[in-house]
């Protein structure tokens, strides 16, 4: 009965959210903004899981209705929160703080108050909403009733694992003592130029209260208007923080919404990035990290590498991954594209979702379904980084920065790392020397007229790249581009001639190099 009392209001809230979602979906362009505002409002009212989802929907964009869910929603008054805080501290407020203000920043699971300790140190006191743990548990109970038909069944998506990760993460986020320990680990281990992690105060913190140093800074949208040098410094910090967290520290901050970052200039006029909120992180075992680093390094240096074994080592399910085994080298080229180029990588060239869709079509779901649920959080971290670099409008060289972060010793360890499945007899064929570029040459009377190069994956868009007149030749010569593309999808993008056409005095040569 008590459980039902908790569940009923949540069912009511989720029903309202569902209704608001439907309105957004059905709204035309003129009504869409209002419909989104209405949806953001009900998600903000619901707090907890609904607000978390709203924050993810906000992304890093400047002008969407969900941004208030990132920046701030209406906080609970100090009158309500003070007795709760005093109960946790075991002291009255004035015994600890010389100043304590109403909250101006409410988040999904708690809110932050500005305070000044008796010794003068300025602190941020993050307090969990009363009753939020039970509320989240109720919402999570609802998620366990999610249907498992349709695509979930077809692609054998293990929803139990996803639910387990969701439960673990969301309940973990309500435990501020665990968050404090995570923040301490990050502060102790991450050494990245320009990164600042606030200091925590364990003696004043508990499961429902987290006290840390107060940090002033500008929001991400403001930092995007800073000078190119400062934007580059921010980009480098974000990139190196992710690399160091992932490959060296083994734990990644997986909540990259803009509210979790502040930016300021230090005394030497260098940009400093303040990373907040360590409630949502993903930990990766060393063998997972080594397998991933081994794979990136092999593709970067065009060394023979058994991609299949590396993915299995990272926790992918072999039977599902087997459906796209032949395409794995091409998938790796798309996944690791920023590491493979010898230049500062313009991030808008990394159209991963559409490129994977073009390559695998419907079977891309096998890749998603095969991956461990925890990797979703890692993908979220990379997606957040991509959005941040896009908004900063900068390009950085990824590979040398990764090399700098991991160092020679770890890189060597990754190169020598033996994936377990590679030791078995069923190890797949080693794949090496993948094509890096698509080359098109048009010549007339033996004189080269046009020479163009594209990334190798552009071969799947060959029709749009070829001049119209050449498309006519291709058709007249009976060359079927779809057959060529199907073959490449099956066999991988290895260096090879694709076709060679001669019409009168003109010649067209297309190959993968």
């Amino acid at each position: 009965m008590a459980r039902l009392v908790h569940l009923l209001p949540k069912i009511w809230q989720w029903w309202r959210i569902g209704l608001a979602f439907r309105r957004v979906k059905q709204a035309d362009a003129s009504e869409r903004e209002f419909a989104e505002q209405a949806l953001a409002k009900v998600m903000g009212d619901a707090k907890g899981l609904a607000m978390k989802i709203g924050q993810v929907m906000a992304g890093n964009a400047e002008d969407n209705a969900f941004l208030p869910l990132v920046q701030s929603v209406q906080p609970v008054s100090l009158k309500v929160m003070q007795p709760i805080l005093e109960g946790h501290l075991g002291m009255v407020l004035t015994d600890v703080f010389q100043q304590f203000e109403e909250s101006k920043a409410a988040a999904s699971l708690g809110q932050v108050h500005h305070g000044v300790l008796l010794d003068g140190r300025v602190v941020a006191v993050k307090m969990r909403y009363p009753g939020i743990v039970q509320a989240v548990e109720s919402e999570l109970a609802l998620t366990s009733r999610l249907p498992a038909g349709g695509p979930v069944k077809r692609w054998k998506i293990n929803t139990a694992n996803y639910k387990a990760v969701l439960h673990q993460q969301l309940l973990g986020e309500t435990d501020y003592l665990a968050e404090l320990q995570t923040q301490q680990r990050f502060k102790q281990h991450l050494k990245v130029p320009g990164l600042h992690i606030p200091e925590v105060f364990p003696a004043l913190s508990c499961e429902a209260v987290l006290v840390q140093s107060w940090e002033d800074g500008s929001r991400f949208s403001e930092a995007c208007a800073w000078s190119k040098m400062h934007r580059l410094e921010i980009g480098r910090t974000l990139l190196m923080t992710l690399f160091q967290s992932l490959f060296v520290h083994g734990e990644v901050h997986a909540d990259p919404h803009p509210g979790n970052y502040l930016f300021r200039l230090d005394n030497s006029n260098h940009a400093e990035t303040i990373l907040l909120d360590y409630g949502c992180t993903v930990r990766l075992e060393k063998h997972t990290r080594l397998a991933l680093l081994k794979l990136i390094d092999a593709y970067r240096n065009q060394q023979a590498c058994d991609a299949f074994s590396c993915f299995i080592e990272m926790g992918f399910e072999a039977d599902k991954l087997g459906h796209i085994q032949t395409e794995l080298p091409s998938v790796c080229q798309l996944l690791f594209q920023p590491f493979l180029v010898d230049k500062a990588f313009p991030i808008n060239e990394w159209q991963l979702s559409s490129a994977i869709k073009d390559l695998l079509e419907e079977r891309r779901w096998w890749f998603r379904s095969a991956g461990p649920a925890e990797l979703l959080l890692l993908l979220r971290a990379f997606h957040g980084l991509k959005e941040q670099l896009e908004n900063l409008a900068i390009a950085l060289p990824w590979w040398p920065l990764l090399q700098h972060v991991v160092g020679d010793e770890l890189l060597q360890e990754a190169r020598l790392f033996q994936c377990k499945s590679a030791l078995s007899e069923a190890a797949p064929v080693l794949i090496a020397n993948l094509a890096h570029k698509l080359c098109i040459r048009l010549s007339e009377n033996g004189v080269q007229r046009i020479a163009i190069e594209f990334p190798a994956a552009a071969v799947f868009d060959l029709e749009t790249l070829m001049p119209e007149s050449v498309m006519e030749w291709i058709s007249d010569a009976g060359i079927n581009l779809d057959t060529i593309k199907q073959g490449l999808k099956k066999e991988g993008l290895s260096p090879q001639p694709l076709f060679n056409l001669t019409v009168e005095n003109q010649q067209c040569l297309v190959w993968l190099e």
């Binding site: 040098m229 480098r236 190196m240 390009a395 060289p397």
Partner: protein, 215 residues
């Protein structure tokens, strides 16, 4: 629907006009008998017998590119009965034009696009990181040694390489040392001696990146 677009030009003698366009202006005959069509890969022209006096007022205005404007004007005037109506002059910083009146009611604008050497302005490097002034000036100046048709590619490669070298040390500014090393990395060894001389000419110490001994 797809259309193949041709310009129709009315002349008294389509066969002679077709010959003129092919001999003087580099067109090729696509249809040799009536209606005569000539093309040059960019445009096709259908030559029709003039139907009425009013059509005489129609002129065919062609704009064509040349790599040497002065020479092209002289050749057309000397061998192909073209009259200069507007002499060669610069219409923008990177473009010179001359206008000629040719037989068969053809008005021709000849265009010469000037390369960076002819303009005398060194283009910016395609940078992503920050470059210190000396490093940028050194690369720009050294690239003058590269034949102009290969220079754009060389500019891109050396810029990208220098930025990779800076990033290897997690730096965001490309200094002179990275620039010089990048020059050495992207230049074939047999050209290193020439490159070293060019650097020394600018007062830049080449360092130990070059293969000049027994080259």
């Amino acid at each position: 629907m797809n259309f193949v677009i041709s310009v129709i030009h009315y002349v008294e003698d389509p066969a002679a006009a077709a010959d003129y366009l092919c001999n003087a202006l580099g067109f090729q005959k696509k249809v040799k008998l009536s209606p005569r069509v000539v093309e040059n890969g960019a445009i096709s022209i259908r030559l029709e017998l003039v139907p009425s006096l009013a059509a005489y007022k129609n002129e065919l205005n062609l704009a064509m590119q040349t790599q040497n404007l002065a020479q092209a004007v002289t050749e057309l005037a000397t061998f192909f009965k073209a009259e200069l109506s507007s002499p060669a002059c610069a219409v923008s910083i990177d473009r010179k034009e001359a206008q000629l009146i040719c037989p068969h009611h053809i008005r021709l604008t000849l265009v010469e696009e000037l390369n960076e050497d002819q303009i005398g302005i060194l283009p910016d490097l395609p940078t992503s990181l920050i470059w210190d002034t000396r490093a940028e000036a050194c690369i720009k100046e050294t690239l003058r040694q590269v034949p102009v048709s290969f220079r754009e590619l060389a500019r891109q490669r050396v810029t990208e390489r220098a930025e990779m070298l800076a990033a290897e040390q997690a730096l965001l500014t490309v200094n002179l040392e990275f620039a010089v090393q990048a020059l050495a990395d992207v230049t074939p060894n047999f050209q290193h001696a020439q490159l070293v001389a060019a650097l020394l000419g600018q007062g830049v110490e080449p360092g130990g990146y070059f293969h000049t001994v027994d080259a």
